[in-house]
Symmetry: C2
Subunit: 402 residues, 2 copies
Amino acid sequence: MGTEGILMRDFQYYTPTQVLFGRGTERKAGELVKRYGGTKALIHYGGGSAKRSGLLDQVTASLEAAGISWVELGGVVPNPRLSKVREGIDLCRREGVDFLLAVGGGSVIDSCKAIGYGLRYDGDVWDLFVKKAAPQACAPVGCVLTIAAAGSEMSDSCVITNEDGWKKRGLSNDLCRLRFALMDPELTFTLPAYQTASGCTDIISHTMERYFSGAETVEPTDSMAEGLMRSVMDAAKRAVRDPADYDARAAILWASSLSHNGLTGCGRGGEGRVGDWACHQIEHELSGMFDVTHGAGLAAVFGAWARYALPSAPARFARFARRVMGVQETDDTKAAEAGVAAYEDFLREIGMPTSIHELGVTLDDETIDRLAWKCTFEGERTIGSLRVLELEDIKAIYRAAK
Amino acid sequence: MGTEGILMRDFQYYTPTQVLFGRGTERKAGELVKRYGGTKALIHYGGGSAKRSGLLDQVTASLEAAGISWVELGGVVPNPRLSKVREGIDLCRREGVDFLLAVGGGSVIDSCKAIGYGLRYDGDVWDLFVKKAAPQACAPVGCVLTIAAAGSEMSDSCVITNEDGWKKRGLSNDLCRLRFALMDPELTFTLPAYQTASGCTDIISHTMERYFSGAETVEPTDSMAEGLMRSVMDAAKRAVRDPADYDARAAILWASSLSHNGLTGCGRGGEGRVGDWACHQIEHELSGMFDVTHGAGLAAVFGAWARYALPSAPARFARFARRVMGVQETDDTKAAEAGVAAYEDFLREIGMPTSIHELGVTLDDETIDRLAWKCTFEGERTIGSLRVLELEDIKAIYRAAK
């Protein structure tokens, strides 16, 4: 368990979000909107399930009790869209909304964050996503979390898809960090097994992207990240078996926040956003073009990426194999390969695909060329940091994953 | 690596402190005081080393560059005292100070927090520590951290000693959480080996007190806590050997914050403050009466406490033994005992005592009775949660540790 060659790069850590975790915390929504200065809220949500389950009624009752008025805007879809964001900005301006309350998962939260940016920007909000302008402020956002996956409830991240060209773009900035997050594990009991498994894959991936940002060891970050990944894998298997396993749901829900609030990247360095993010970026194009579930898409491409990147840092992959997957093998390359295979076994065990065709998506050469080209932002960037990937590398990974 | 019987109790998590970590971050002090609304700062510090090293000059230069005026108050001692706190409150009121900047370690930060409470309270600040009144606000505090140990830079905790009766009392409240913490590992290079080892013992203890709050497993908290403890042990050995090992110093410094910001207690439940805290409370009386270094005091009493508490939760101690100390033994009680012994070996390896007489303190029966009586707040409380300890239990632990 030595930590030879540990290394700590400069970092910032800022997680101001107040978390209330446990049964019934959704009933604190009104009190918290008020505490953070809201007088009129936008209740933003996705499909009808928040309504049918009675959750929206509980939230509005709590707002009413706190003397907060509100307007509602539903219809946020996975891979949340710019048109809905613009609709939200218009509605909030018209209605004098001063607090954005997301009731849902990462898509709803991201849509709220984008509305928050838009409310504090004079031009078109898409400008901020294509870096035509830098955000200077964001209206306050809070959430009642219903899906454990994206980690947006504590992250600085916001990803929006522009239907005009189906461009998916992320904006990372501390300004959008939530004022509060209310997390009741029971709200996630109704999530189907496939969505649960996809969420867990996304959670693990958020830690993995940081863990595989480079070859070096960074402590205490790595040891904590390893514990977190093992823990989520255990809990994922339990929650897929028994959707009402409170403690497994709780572990997954809390891990979703810890995996994406910056903690598992502290000291790993790198310019701008810390992490490798190649799997995420390769997947973003897939889910942008085919609307597949993000976590399942990550599962489908992981093995192909890992085997492509592995020769660049066998010792790093071997550490992952030994400490997270329990591989006992002294040779680094063999251990590394066994670790990737063991992780794929885990993915299959929770019902995740390990190739793209299992998503119901058939990739021909032309589509691969198009996905890879979009993934480079039409020739404008490389992706990855553990192994830097250019256009041809990305194509090779899509081919190996198909 | 199963997590049978995992459990997650309700919790709150709130760590609003903005952390800037890395070389030269102390030069950001002025910019951050300004960002958080300060116009005139109290620079609070301990002995002359902050002055002699040139650190105070760097801090004042950065305040000056940001247009912040200031007054200075040095002389904070370990186990910081009420008289200094009162002096600070008077000075700040007289001078119109609106921001408290701690330049030092936990004692200086705690003294600043207490001044902050006092500035927002009409009566005598000690009222708040003896629960005669509840704090309603705290003036803003930030720090330039020079010692990795107490974790006060991200904690809700503040411990002050009243020289009138040498009463040491803690006050835990989110109101005092720092606005920012500037952490430059190089500032800790000059810390002597004994202080370094004491600090590391305190850091591990902050996680241990939470880890041993009860018998149950809580994920992902436990797995992350285990990684953190292993990591600090590795880094402690390195920093004691080589005081200028940047990465070891960095790992220790960051771990000091993570061990006491609430993270390693999430979901462990318990009324009020999460954790067992018996070792801390037994040690507080020792350092209150004899002014021993807090971390060394913790090292001296740990084994006696652990062997006393072990029969209440052998499986818990066995998990610690296997996952943190690397003990390979299938019988839980044997593994548990081996784990405690292995941790004592680690303490000796970094130069820490494992009994009270090694601190230069000889305890006779009368002194033990007095320490234990004070530890129960003169019969008003029991201590501990994994094993609840009454007066006679506390005496037995002092006797076993002497």
